[in-house]
Symmetry: C2
């Protein structure tokens, strides 16, 4: 009964929702923070900082990659992740563009 209805919404709505979804879990916010702090980050460092199993962290990293918020590269046996600032700029732009233009601060009610 719960079939996916996301296709029935327009592209802009889905784009914003997808970006938001990527940071909708504190673990992923924490991962981004850790990567941003160091400018780049080895997977193992992220795992050691988070209170989650290695496989779980790997799963979260995969989601951030899918959303384009980070990039990853193999460095020998290790994996290195960086923030993809380009995508973040797009995210922030979508976010502020969407809400700023209608913020009249003049509600009729509520």
């Amino acid at each position: 009964m719960a079939t996916n209805k996301k296709d029935l919404f327009n592209q802009k709505e889905n784009l914003l929702a997808n970006f938001a979804n990527a940071i909708s879990h504190p673990a992923r916010v924490a991962i981004l923070k850790e990567i941003a702090k160091q400018e780049s980050c080895i997977c193992g460092e992220i795992v050691s900082v988070l209170p989650l199993a290695q496989s779980t962290v790997s799963q979260h990293l995969k989601e951030l990659l899918k959303a384009g918020l980070i990039t990853g590269s193999i460095d020998g046996a290790k994996s290195c992740y960086c923030i993809n600032w380009k995508t973040f700029e797009l995210f922030e732009k979508q976010f502020s563009e969407f809400f700023a233009k209608t913020n009249t601060n003049n509600p009729k009610c509520c």
Copy 2:
């Protein structure tokens, strides 16, 4: 096995994740857009604009209320919803504060 680990992250991370979660579905983005466009909005109007059942829209509205992104008031038999701009300002602040301060655009790798 999948017990909730969200409490193990700090308050700021959870706050941002919760806001993001509220707009992580295109239906909720569409609802916010509709409310913002009219400055205020009767529930029935939102339902008639979205490709979802009334009960489903009501559920999404409840989530937006929970996150504090909208306010609601009863107007006779109808319900009126407005954007809670105060919360949105906080959301936007958390978002940009969090990422802007570390955006050096100078990645070591990737």
